[in-house]
Amino acid sequence: MTDKNVTETLPEKSVFSRRTVLKSAGIGAAGITTAAALAACSKKDDGPKDLDAATVSFVFNGSADQAKSWDALFAGFKEKYPQIDFTAQAIPSASWAEYADTVAVQLAGGAKYDVLNLATEGALLFADKGVVLALDDLIARDQEEMDIALADTHPRLVEFGKKYGPQDGKTYYIPSGGMNCMAAWVNKDVFAKAGLELPTDDWTWDDFLAAGRTIKKKTGAFMFPVTAEYFVGIMPWLTTNGASTMNEDWTVATCDTPQAIEAAEFARQLVVEKLSPAPGGTFDRFELGIKGDLAVFGGGRWPVLAVRAANAVDKYEIFDFPHKGANRGSPVGWAAFPIMKSSPNVDAAWEFVKYLSTSSGATVFATSGGTASPCLKSVAESQDYLADSPVGTEKLYKALDYATAIPSPTKGNLTQRTIEDVWGQIIAGNIKPDAGMKKMQEEVTKLL
């Protein structure tokens, strides 16, 4: 099923060769016009494209200080399609799971959105409720354009997009709204102060521990914040030891494998040796890091906002997360923009989704400091994305090669709560790692 790549349906009788199309649909505004031209020439049935007076209502997960990035994105769209009445609602949330819940509540009350911004954590929930539209016909209509985007997307993301949706062979989620993997943001000054060389991408847990001890002794700074956050604090340690909370299909819990228990033990060890601030409270890791009291924090793309605001971009370098097992690991989450089945403006909505999914939109977002890495390879390698960012930012995209999709079953919000709660107790020392992970296994299994 994952092989049912959209490229197979590219009409052979297309007038334009792939190369021409690739060239003209490159970065920039040309993308849309070309697509329109292509659509006109395409042998496929066009379907109505009356965009006048159509309205598109978009809901997304965004907080106040991300508003600028999103506004830039919307401005670009409104410029291209002035005839579409576009409105966007930002819903600030502490996590993607909560965001999904809030949107679900609103939808339940009858709120009318055309396009949603939805991440992995929540995708299955909405698919399960049958409220998202199958996009295959629309994709076929704009085959060439979508082809380009798909070719430019990391194959694993394409695979994930297909796999973690309703298994009826149709496409509901195009992973295009940016993605995040976990990497280690290393404060070069702290390492220098402790007399250490910077790590390599291949560093192991042992290297990490040793560095942490030296840093603590020589500078008193903490090494890393051990927290009970699913994506940021739990999954990195599991995946870098070849473990995960669930199996690949997200149907069976795998929390009590020896590797998972090892990960829990390591996290707890970091706390015990005071290489991490004690868990159980709240503190700002970016503040600490920038001040020099914390050597490393984990992150995908989002720390860049805080780092830029503090003019500390040069202080940081990004490395792959340290691993223990044979391979490197990282969780990955991505966002898609599904269209609601109930939308009366499918065509207009589709234009917006395309705008977001193709390079023009992605570039705008990347430059203005979006909190996710782009899904498109060309954008991830472009200066728009890499400028004013720490050295090593390109690794955030490369991590896709070995990343594990963050397990988000239908009841993801509840499994997340349980996982975070139990891990929190493990790292606080209330429960021993192996007993804790076994408990997590029990609780999660109940919910699956």
Partner: protein, 296 residues
């Protein structure tokens, strides 16, 4: 004759006129939703798929649910502790401030203790979550210095007491002020007369002061109960009901069932149960009031 009849007729309408806005709003915003909730308690619905009628199944589920039981237990502990501390400390403070102390001092005390009442729970949660951070929090830092437990928010024994304390911090001011006014309303002739008779200190308090401020104490205990039983924000924002459901309150469990588990029917059942409990307890409080509350 007809004039009087007309006036009488008009008079009969008067209560209706006075009451109609209240009744209208009550029906729209309290009664109909409540009936709706009762209705929802008899179905299974997840917002998106078709609702299904299940009769009293949800109620049966509630009685067998260990998490619900835990939530009820936590809520009762919270409530009882809340009432005791609010009334107890409020009384002590009120008596303490009622003595002959410099006016400026009294002003400071009243300000300091009442101010947290004006804060929102989001602000309060932010202050305390950061303050209680085991590494960087001021409050946790000093707590450690005097031997109090640290990292309390993540301890299954100490998390709930911590929330009780934070709630006390936030709402004590209200109880304090109400009881203080109750004491200050005691006509000075009475206390003077008692003093002349030789009563002082504890005796004065027990025989005169306390009985006369019982209406105030009653008011505080009724409102404290209702507020404490419906407590939601601190556990929702600060501990998410953890660790291990140690701080899960019953309203929070309702929220979780309805808005996280998307089981509207079950959430509705919990809300109906809450409603009934609060109703019974408050009515009981009113009934017993006749025995100990002094209607001055």
């Amino acid at each position: 004759m007809p004039l009087r009849k007309a006036k009488q007729k008009q008079e009969r309408f008067t209560p209706f006129l006075f009451l109609s806005p209240a009744i209208l709003f009550f029906c729209c915003f309290i009664l109909f939703p409540l009936i709706g909730a009762f209705g929802y308690s008899l179905i299974t619905w997840d917002f998106f798929t078709q609702p299904k009628f299940v009769g009293l199944d949800n109620y049966g589920k509630l009685f067998k649910d260990p998490i619900a039981l835990e939530a009820v237990k936590n809520t009762f502990i919270f409530t009882i502790a809340s009432i005791v501390t609010h009334v107890g400390l409020g009384l002590i403070l009120a008596v303490a401030v009622n003595r002959r102390i410099p006016k400026f001092f009294a002003y400071i005390i009243r300000t300091v203790f009442f101010f947290p009442f004006l804060l929102s729970w989001s602000a309060t949660s932010i202050i305390w979550s950061f303050g209680l951070d085991p590494t960087f929090g001021v409050i946790d830092f000093y707590a450690g210095k005097v031997g109090f437990p640290q990292a309390t928010l993540i301890s299954s024994t100490w998390a709930l007491p911590t929330l009780i304390m934070i709630d006390l911090w936030k709402t004590l001011g209200f109880a304090f002020i109400v009881i203080l006014a109750g004491i200050q309303a005691i006509p000075s002739e009475i206390s003077e007369a008692a003093r002349v008779d030789g009563a002082s200190g504890l005796r004065l308090f027990w025989n005169i002061t306390f009985p006369l401020c019982t209406p105030a104490i009653f008011f505080v205990s009724v409102t404290a109960f209702i507020g404490a039983f419906q407590i939601f924000e601190p556990m929702y924002i600060m501990t998410r009901g953890g660790p291990d459901n140690a701080t899960l309150s019953i309203v929070q469990y309702l929220h979780m069932s309805a808005f996280r588990n998307f089981d509207i029917g079950y959430g509705a059942v919990i809300s109906v149960a809450i409603f009934i409990v609060v109703l019974i307890v408050t009515l009981t409080q009113f009934k017993f009031a006749k025995r100990w509350v002094h209607e001055g």
